[in-house]
């Protein structure tokens, strides 16, 4: 345990000092998005990884969070600056209300049906954002006020730290759940839900709680994203690709593990942004994503972390034997 903490120390120091070490906007921009996906994949893993309920519609909460902060800022004439960051927990609360309602319905289903219900819910959210023109601005998008006095190298820094705080919050939540009896109940649901019921696990309450925690984190990250990009459109914030990306990152790193989604996000997001820089705004990176998905399914079906853990375990056993 102590060795692990010592290993984490340089990583944590790098994460905290990054904007000071590499302050140029192109680097910090990559850092903002990478940290965003560390948070998203970690949050998604609390539901999808621990319970085995694969939600492909979490982008709905991301978009909801983005629009919630945007609308609050626009309608309440919030002055841009550090103030909007303090509204992010309010967005979290609003997302929780939405997630309770959606989860209450969606979690009556299991397996493939659950996946389809979550996708349908995401498209409903996208349609609402597109068609409630008077509220959201529809396809024309919604502009958020942005802090004019933050300029040059500094502009990305507050957003980076906001994303870092949310990612750390997600990781701490995930760690604490994994070590609690509640977390063990979630893993039991993943393994055999009926058996979990038979030994007293209140599966519906547990699943709904995990779903809401996961959605709240995603909603809050969506809010910071909206403030960062300053202009949001339905198709770019309630974007299936955002939902799929967080799932892919969790799969790549290792479903149901604490560090897996982090590793997945650290590997995939910078590579995806590199693709975007090299090949312009084309969606060529989707080919790269498909290739990664194939490799994961064929070679690392359990993800990097469990596979490496198995490898180390086998080597140790082999050493012990010889």
């Amino acid at each position: 345990m102590k060795r692990k903490a010592l290993l984490l120390l340089p990583v944590a120091a790098l994460a905290v000092l990054l904007p000071l070490v590499a302050p140029d906007p192109s680097t910090t921009n990559i850092a903002v998005f990478t940290m965003m996906y560390v948070g998203l994949a970690t949050a998604w893993n609390i539901m999808g990884g621990y319970t085995g309920y694969i939600s492909l519609g979490h982008a709905a909460f991301f978009g909801f969070g983005a629009y919630a902060l945007g609308l609050i800022m626009v309608h309440l004439n919030i002055t841009p600056g550090y103030g909007p960051f303090f509204l992010v927990p309010v967005v979290g609360l609003l997302t929780a209300v939405l997630a309770v309602g959606i989860g209450w319905i969606a979690l009556r289903t299991r397996a493939a049906t659950f996946v389809i219900v979550t996708i349908a819910f995401m498209f409903m959210m996208q349609l609402l954002a597109e068609n409630l023109v008077k509220v959201t601005g529809g396809g024309g998008g919604l502009g958020l006020p942005y802090p004019h006095d933050w300029g040059g190298d500094f502009f990305n820094t507050p957003y980076y730290y906001a994303m870092l705080v949310l990612a750390v919050l997600g990781l701490l939540t995930s760690w604490w759940i994994r070590r609690s009896k509640f977390g063990l109940g979630l893993l039991a649901i993943r393994d055999d839900e009926d058996k979990a019921l038979a030994v007293g696990v209140p599966t519906r309450t547990f699943k709904l709680t995990a779903y809401v925690i996961s959605a709240v984190l995603v909603g809050m990250i969506g809010a910071v994203y909206a403030y960062y990009v300053t202009y949001i459109y339905p198709q770019f914030v309630v974007d299936p690709l955002i939902g799929i990306s967080m799932v892919l990152m969790a799969f790549l790193g290792g479903l149901g593990t604490l560090s897996g989604p982090v590793i997945g996000a650290l590997l995939l997001e910078p590579s995806q942004l590199e693709f975007a820089y090299r090949f312009g705004a084309s969606r060529l990176y989707l080919v790269f994503y498909s290739a990664i998905f194939l490799i994961v399914i064929l070679l690392l079906p359990r993800g990097i972390v469990p596979s490496v853990r198995d490898l180390i375990g086998r080597r140790r056993t082999a050493k012990g034997v010889t």
């Binding site: 009896k181 030994v199 007293g200 696990v201 209140p202």
Partner: protein, 243 residues
């Protein structure tokens, strides 16, 4: 005194009547066997009692309180544990983690705090030692042998100290040595005050272990009594042999 009472319980699946006005009682601190030919409705009765299936008609009372309509988790919380026909454990959790999953009357604090685990871990290790599989505490469930899974399932059910345990074919697919071990553990737990209702096809196992036997045929309880009495009951012979 009866710990569990079932009155006029019925369940239909489409055109098939699986349980047809079944009534029986399980005495407190007894080991009661529920026997009957294949398709007589034994497992359906288990599923109805433990809330896995909704009943069409009838009443189920545990400690004189109606439990019909409650979900499986609530029923376990009241003190009724169960095992399944094919041993069901959590394959990706270790044996020790399997022991720690059961939840009974747990509040929010117990769910979220880490400190209360210590006591539960100690009890889990004691139970694993009781069923003699403490040496595989750190092994994932999926890597255990079938016999070890059977023992783990029994030990895990006992974690929340249920008053009544429903065992679905505890002797199914088990070798004679392990069978004797399981019987011995059931007897020991019974001596500690746990009541058992078990479904079983292995007649010598039932006759040696049970205080009372209830015979089910076509969804109805057609006989009950001491093992010896039931064995000689003409209605039972007729149900089994079709004579």
């Amino acid at each position: 005194m009866s710990l569990l009472e079932i009155a006029e319980l019925s369940k239909r699946f489409g055109g098939v009547v699986a349980v047809d006005g079944c009534s029986l009682a399980v005495a407190d601190r007894s080991i009661t066997g529920l026997i009957g030919p294949n398709g007589s409705g034994k497992t359906t009765v288990f599923n109805l009692v433990t809330g896995f299936l909704p009943r069409d008609r009838g009443e189920v009372r545990f400690k004189s309180r109606s439990i019909a309509g409650l979900g499986p988790d609530r029923i376990y919380g009241l003190g009724i544990g169960r095992t399944f026909q094919l041993a069901r454990i959590f394959p990706r959790l270790t044996a020790l983690e399997n022991m720690l999953v059961p939840v009974r009357r747990a509040g929010l604090r117990a769910m979220l705090s880490h400190g209360q685990w210590r006591h539960e871990r100690e009890r889990a290790m004691e139970m694993l030692e009781f069923v003699e599989i403490a040496h595989v505490a750190g092994t994932v469930g999926g890597a255990l042998s079938y016999g070890q899974r059977k023992l783990l399932e029994l030990a895990a059910v006992m974690m929340a100290a249920p008053e009544l345990v429903l065992l679905d074919e505890p002797a199914g697919g088990v070798n004679p040595a392990l069978l004797e071990k399981i019987a011995e553990q059931i007897r020991k737990l019974n001596q500690q005050g746990v009541t058992f209702l078990l479904v079983e096809h292995n007649m010598p196992f039932v006759m040696n272990l049970c205080d009372e036997v209830v015979v089910l045929h076509q969804g109805k309880a057609i006989a009950n009594g001491k093992p010896k009495e039931v064995r000689e009951n003409p209605a039972v012979l007729d149900a089994y042999l079709g004579t």
